[in-house]
Amino acid sequence: MNTRTWTQSWSLMVSACALHLAVAEARAEFTISATVPDFKLRSTGSVDFSFTKESGAIELTRGGQQYRPKLLAIHLLQPDCLQCRAQLKALEQIHRRFAEKGLALLGISHRDDEKALAALGTELNLTFPLLMGTGSHLASKFAAGDTFGLIDGKGVVRFAQVGYGAGDEKVWIENIEAMLAGKPPVNETIEREPLRVGDSFPAIVLLSLAKGKPMELVGADGKLVFRGEDGKELRPKSVLFFFSRY
Protein backbone atom coordinates (compact mmCIF):
# COMPACT_ATOMS: atom_id res chain seq x y z
CA MET A 1 0.00 0.00 0.00
CA ASN A 2 1.44 3.37 -0.99
CA THR A 3 0.40 6.64 0.53
CA ARG A 4 1.81 10.05 0.06
CA THR A 5 1.95 11.90 3.31
CA TRP A 6 -0.41 14.72 3.62
CA THR A 7 2.29 17.22 4.36
CA GLN A 8 3.41 17.21 0.78
CA SER A 9 2.78 19.91 -1.69
CA TRP A 10 -0.63 19.40 -3.16
CA SER A 11 -3.69 20.67 -1.45
CA LEU A 12 -6.99 20.00 -3.05
CA MET A 13 -10.27 21.66 -2.52
CA VAL A 14 -12.87 19.00 -2.60
CA SER A 15 -16.10 20.45 -3.69
CA ALA A 16 -18.33 17.68 -2.42
CA CYS A 17 -17.67 15.89 0.79
CA ALA A 18 -18.21 12.61 2.53
CA LEU A 19 -21.64 11.89 3.85
CA HIS A 20 -20.51 11.98 7.47
CA LEU A 21 -19.06 15.46 7.38
CA ALA A 22 -19.81 17.56 10.42
CA VAL A 23 -21.63 20.25 8.46
CA ALA A 24 -24.76 21.92 9.74
CA GLU A 25 -27.75 19.67 9.34
CA ALA A 26 -31.36 20.19 10.17
CA ARG A 27 -31.39 17.20 12.50
CA ALA A 28 -29.30 16.80 15.63
CA GLU A 29 -27.31 13.80 16.64
CA PHE A 30 -27.69 11.98 19.89
CA THR A 31 -26.08 14.35 22.34
CA ILE A 32 -24.73 13.43 25.73
CA SER A 33 -27.14 14.40 28.52
CA ALA A 34 -30.09 14.71 26.12
CA THR A 35 -33.24 12.99 27.31
CA VAL A 36 -34.75 10.52 24.87
CA PRO A 37 -38.33 11.53 24.14
CA ASP A 38 -41.18 9.10 24.76
CA PHE A 39 -42.10 7.21 21.60
CA LYS A 40 -44.49 4.62 20.19
CA LEU A 41 -43.30 2.57 17.24
CA ARG A 42 -44.21 -0.64 15.51
CA SER A 43 -41.80 -3.47 14.89
CA THR A 44 -41.50 -5.82 11.96
CA GLY A 45 -44.04 -8.46 12.83
CA SER A 46 -46.45 -5.67 13.84
CA VAL A 47 -45.71 -5.61 17.57
CA ASP A 48 -46.31 -2.24 19.21
CA PHE A 49 -43.50 -0.82 21.30
CA SER A 50 -43.62 2.22 23.51
CA PHE A 51 -40.97 3.94 25.57
CA THR A 52 -41.84 6.15 28.50
CA LYS A 53 -40.18 7.58 31.57
CA GLU A 54 -42.40 6.89 34.54
CA SER A 55 -41.45 8.08 38.00
CA GLY A 56 -37.90 8.75 36.86
CA ALA A 57 -37.33 5.27 35.40
CA ILE A 58 -37.48 4.11 31.81
CA GLU A 59 -40.20 1.68 30.85
CA LEU A 60 -40.63 -0.30 27.68
CA THR A 61 -43.90 -1.82 26.65
CA ARG A 62 -43.75 -4.60 24.09
CA GLY A 63 -47.03 -5.93 22.79
CA GLY A 64 -48.76 -4.86 25.99
CA GLN A 65 -46.14 -6.28 28.34
CA GLN A 66 -44.17 -3.79 30.40
CA TYR A 67 -40.65 -4.04 31.65
CA ARG A 68 -38.05 -1.74 33.09
CA PRO A 69 -34.61 -2.30 31.62
CA LYS A 70 -31.60 -1.00 33.50
CA LEU A 71 -30.11 0.27 30.25
CA LEU A 72 -31.44 1.03 26.78
CA ALA A 73 -29.41 0.85 23.58
CA ILE A 74 -30.76 2.33 20.37
CA HIS A 75 -29.33 1.89 16.89
CA LEU A 76 -30.77 4.23 14.25
CA LEU A 77 -30.20 2.59 10.88
CA GLN A 78 -31.01 2.33 7.20
CA PRO A 79 -31.89 -1.17 5.92
CA ASP A 80 -29.62 -0.86 2.86
CA CYS A 81 -26.62 0.60 4.67
CA LEU A 82 -23.69 -1.78 4.56
CA GLN A 83 -22.15 -0.26 7.63
CA CYS A 84 -25.43 -0.64 9.51
CA ARG A 85 -25.50 -4.33 8.54
CA ALA A 86 -22.07 -4.85 10.00
CA GLN A 87 -23.03 -2.99 13.16
CA LEU A 88 -26.25 -4.96 13.51
CA LYS A 89 -24.30 -8.22 13.46
CA ALA A 90 -22.08 -6.91 16.23
CA LEU A 91 -25.08 -5.65 18.19
CA GLU A 92 -26.74 -9.07 18.02
CA GLN A 93 -23.81 -10.42 20.02
CA ILE A 94 -24.21 -7.59 22.51
CA HIS A 95 -27.92 -8.37 22.82
CA ARG A 96 -27.28 -12.05 23.47
CA ARG A 97 -24.64 -11.24 26.06
CA PHE A 98 -26.45 -8.56 28.02
CA ALA A 99 -30.22 -8.91 27.51
CA GLU A 100 -30.74 -10.98 30.63
CA LYS A 101 -28.55 -8.60 32.62
CA GLY A 102 -30.87 -5.67 31.97
CA LEU A 103 -29.94 -4.25 28.57
CA ALA A 104 -32.79 -3.56 26.14
CA LEU A 105 -31.59 -3.12 22.56
CA LEU A 106 -33.73 -1.65 19.79
CA GLY A 107 -32.94 -1.15 16.12
CA ILE A 108 -34.93 1.77 14.69
CA SER A 109 -35.05 2.20 10.95
CA HIS A 110 -35.15 5.63 9.32
CA ARG A 111 -37.26 4.11 6.57
CA ASP A 112 -40.71 2.58 7.06
CA ASP A 113 -39.89 -0.27 4.71
CA GLU A 114 -41.12 -3.20 6.76
CA LYS A 115 -40.27 -5.71 4.06
CA ALA A 116 -36.65 -4.59 3.76
CA LEU A 117 -36.24 -4.37 7.52
CA ALA A 118 -37.78 -7.79 8.14
CA ALA A 119 -35.61 -9.33 5.42
CA LEU A 120 -32.55 -7.78 7.03
CA GLY A 121 -33.47 -9.20 10.41
CA THR A 122 -33.95 -12.66 8.93
CA GLU A 123 -30.77 -12.56 6.87
CA LEU A 124 -28.62 -11.45 9.80
CA ASN A 125 -30.43 -13.70 12.29
CA LEU A 126 -31.27 -10.80 14.57
CA THR A 127 -33.24 -11.54 17.71
CA PHE A 128 -33.69 -8.01 19.06
CA PRO A 129 -36.60 -5.84 17.91
CA LEU A 130 -36.40 -3.82 14.70
CA LEU A 131 -38.78 -0.87 14.72
CA MET A 132 -39.94 1.44 11.97
CA GLY A 133 -39.13 4.96 13.04
CA THR A 134 -39.73 7.27 10.08
CA GLY A 135 -41.78 10.23 11.06
CA SER A 136 -41.39 9.54 14.76
CA HIS A 137 -40.12 12.34 16.92
CA LEU A 138 -37.21 10.15 17.85
CA ALA A 139 -36.04 9.70 14.25
CA SER A 140 -36.58 13.36 13.37
CA LYS A 141 -34.79 14.57 16.49
CA PHE A 142 -31.91 12.18 16.48
CA ALA A 143 -31.64 11.04 12.89
CA ALA A 144 -28.06 11.42 11.78
CA GLY A 145 -27.58 8.44 9.56
CA ASP A 146 -26.10 5.54 11.38
CA THR A 147 -26.30 6.49 15.07
CA PHE A 148 -25.93 4.40 18.18
CA GLY A 149 -26.58 5.46 21.76
CA LEU A 150 -26.69 4.09 25.29
CA ILE A 151 -29.41 5.51 27.50
CA ASP A 152 -29.42 5.15 31.28
CA GLY A 153 -32.30 4.11 33.49
CA LYS A 154 -33.60 7.68 33.61
CA GLY A 155 -33.75 8.08 29.83
CA VAL A 156 -30.60 10.21 29.51
CA VAL A 157 -28.13 9.62 26.66
CA ARG A 158 -24.80 8.71 28.24
CA PHE A 159 -22.93 7.41 25.19
CA ALA A 160 -23.41 8.25 21.52
CA GLN A 161 -21.57 7.59 18.30
CA VAL A 162 -22.16 8.18 14.61
CA GLY A 163 -20.93 5.52 12.25
CA TYR A 164 -19.34 2.23 13.13
CA GLY A 165 -15.97 0.62 12.87
CA ALA A 166 -14.89 -2.94 13.58
CA GLY A 167 -13.63 -2.95 17.14
CA ASP A 168 -16.15 -0.44 18.49
CA GLU A 169 -17.70 -3.38 20.35
CA LYS A 170 -14.92 -3.22 22.92
CA VAL A 171 -15.96 0.32 23.87
CA TRP A 172 -19.63 -0.65 23.98
CA ILE A 173 -18.95 -3.60 26.28
CA GLU A 174 -16.87 -1.51 28.68
CA ASN A 175 -19.63 1.09 28.84
CA ILE A 176 -22.47 -1.40 29.17
CA GLU A 177 -20.74 -3.30 31.96
CA ALA A 178 -20.02 -0.06 33.81
CA MET A 179 -23.56 1.28 33.42
CA LEU A 180 -25.21 -2.01 34.39
CA ALA A 181 -23.12 -1.89 37.54
CA GLY A 182 -24.49 1.56 38.29
CA LYS A 183 -21.31 3.40 37.31
CA PRO A 184 -20.85 6.14 34.72
CA PRO A 185 -19.79 5.07 31.22
CA VAL A 186 -16.08 4.73 30.57
CA ASN A 187 -16.35 6.77 27.34
CA GLU A 188 -19.03 9.13 26.10
CA THR A 189 -18.25 8.56 22.45
CA ILE A 190 -15.72 7.15 20.04
CA GLU A 191 -13.57 9.98 18.77
CA ARG A 192 -12.98 10.28 15.07
CA GLU A 193 -11.44 13.18 13.22
CA PRO A 194 -14.05 14.85 11.04
CA LEU A 195 -13.45 16.56 7.75
CA ARG A 196 -14.63 20.14 7.59
CA VAL A 197 -15.90 22.16 4.68
CA GLY A 198 -13.06 24.39 3.58
CA ASP A 199 -10.30 21.98 4.60
CA SER A 200 -7.58 21.37 2.07
CA PHE A 201 -7.51 17.71 1.31
CA PRO A 202 -4.26 15.90 0.72
CA ALA A 203 -3.46 13.90 -2.37
CA ILE A 204 -4.75 10.36 -2.27
CA VAL A 205 -2.34 7.77 -3.55
CA LEU A 206 -3.43 4.28 -2.58
CA LEU A 207 -3.84 0.85 -4.08
CA SER A 208 -7.18 -0.16 -5.53
CA LEU A 209 -9.18 -2.52 -3.38
CA ALA A 210 -9.91 -5.21 -5.95
CA LYS A 211 -6.72 -5.44 -8.01
CA GLY A 212 -4.15 -3.85 -5.73
CA LYS A 213 -3.01 -1.43 -8.44
CA PRO A 214 -2.07 2.19 -7.77
CA MET A 215 -4.79 4.80 -8.07
CA GLU A 216 -4.51 8.44 -7.26
CA LEU A 217 -6.41 11.67 -6.89
CA VAL A 218 -3.98 14.55 -7.11
CA GLY A 219 -3.77 18.19 -8.05
CA ALA A 220 -2.04 19.23 -11.28
CA ASP A 221 -1.93 22.80 -12.60
CA GLY A 222 -4.71 23.72 -10.23
CA LYS A 223 -6.99 20.96 -11.47
CA LEU A 224 -8.03 17.63 -10.06
CA VAL A 225 -6.62 14.58 -11.79
CA PHE A 226 -7.87 11.08 -11.10
CA ARG A 227 -5.82 8.13 -12.34
CA GLY A 228 -7.64 4.82 -12.12
CA GLU A 229 -6.22 1.33 -11.75
CA ASP A 230 -6.39 0.97 -15.53
CA GLY A 231 -4.03 3.91 -15.90
CA LYS A 232 -6.63 6.17 -17.51
CA GLU A 233 -6.60 9.78 -16.46
CA LEU A 234 -9.75 11.74 -15.74
CA ARG A 235 -10.19 15.39 -14.88
CA PRO A 236 -13.25 15.54 -12.64
CA LYS A 237 -14.96 18.83 -11.90
CA SER A 238 -15.82 17.64 -8.41
CA VAL A 239 -15.41 14.64 -6.16
CA LEU A 240 -17.75 12.77 -3.87
CA PHE A 241 -16.06 10.31 -1.58
CA PHE A 242 -16.78 8.30 1.50
CA PHE A 243 -14.58 6.69 4.12
CA SER A 244 -16.10 3.28 4.64
CA ARG A 245 -15.38 0.76 7.30
CA TYR A 246 -16.89 -1.76 4.91
Binding site: H20, E193, L209, F242
Partner: protein, 58 residues
Protein backbone atom coordinates in the same frame (compact mmCIF):
# COMPACT_ATOMS: atom_id res chain seq x y z
CA UNK B 1 -22.70 2.55 -1.13
CA UNK B 2 -26.06 2.25 -2.86
CA UNK B 3 -26.64 5.97 -2.79
CA UNK B 4 -23.13 6.73 -4.01
CA UNK B 5 -23.68 4.32 -6.89
CA UNK B 6 -26.73 6.32 -7.92
CA UNK B 7 -24.73 9.54 -7.82
CA UNK B 8 -22.02 7.89 -9.89
CA UNK B 9 -24.43 6.65 -12.53
CA UNK B 10 -26.22 9.95 -12.75
CA UNK B 11 -23.40 12.48 -12.61
CA UNK B 12 -20.18 10.83 -13.81
CA UNK B 13 -20.74 12.10 -17.34
CA UNK B 14 -21.08 15.62 -15.92
CA UNK B 15 -17.68 15.45 -14.23
CA UNK B 16 -18.40 14.02 -10.77
CA UNK B 17 -15.83 11.51 -9.55
CA UNK B 18 -17.19 9.17 -6.92
CA UNK B 19 -15.03 6.84 -4.89
CA UNK B 20 -14.80 5.10 -1.55
CA UNK B 21 -11.77 4.73 0.67
CA UNK B 22 -12.25 1.41 2.35
CA UNK B 23 -10.90 1.09 5.88
CA UNK B 24 -11.86 -2.55 6.29
CA UNK B 25 -9.06 -4.75 7.65
CA UNK B 26 -10.12 -7.69 5.45
CA UNK B 27 -9.78 -6.74 1.80
CA UNK B 28 -11.62 -9.81 0.53
CA UNK B 29 -14.67 -9.06 2.67
CA UNK B 30 -14.80 -5.46 1.45
CA UNK B 31 -14.40 -6.57 -2.17
CA UNK B 32 -17.17 -9.13 -1.79
CA UNK B 33 -19.52 -6.57 -0.24
CA UNK B 34 -18.84 -4.09 -3.02
CA UNK B 35 -19.56 -6.79 -5.60
CA UNK B 36 -22.78 -7.71 -3.80
CA UNK B 37 -23.88 -4.06 -3.88
CA UNK B 38 -22.94 -3.84 -7.59
CA UNK B 39 -20.54 -0.96 -7.05
CA UNK B 40 -18.88 0.31 -10.24
CA UNK B 41 -17.04 3.37 -8.95
CA UNK B 42 -13.41 3.12 -7.74
CA UNK B 43 -12.56 1.72 -4.34
CA UNK B 44 -9.32 2.63 -2.65
CA UNK B 45 -7.76 0.40 -0.03
CA UNK B 46 -7.20 2.80 2.84
CA UNK B 47 -6.58 0.29 5.63
CA UNK B 48 -3.65 1.41 7.78
CA UNK B 49 -3.00 4.34 5.46
CA UNK B 50 -1.86 7.70 6.84
CA UNK B 51 -5.00 9.21 5.37
CA UNK B 52 -7.11 6.73 7.23
CA UNK B 53 -5.39 7.39 10.52
CA UNK B 54 -6.09 11.10 10.15
CA UNK B 55 -9.61 11.06 8.85
CA UNK B 56 -11.23 7.64 9.16
CA UNK B 57 -14.74 8.37 10.22
CA UNK B 58 -17.72 6.08 10.16
Amino acid sequence: MVHLQKFHEKYAKDGLQVFIISMHPERETAVALAKEMKVTYPLFNGYKSDLGKLYAFG
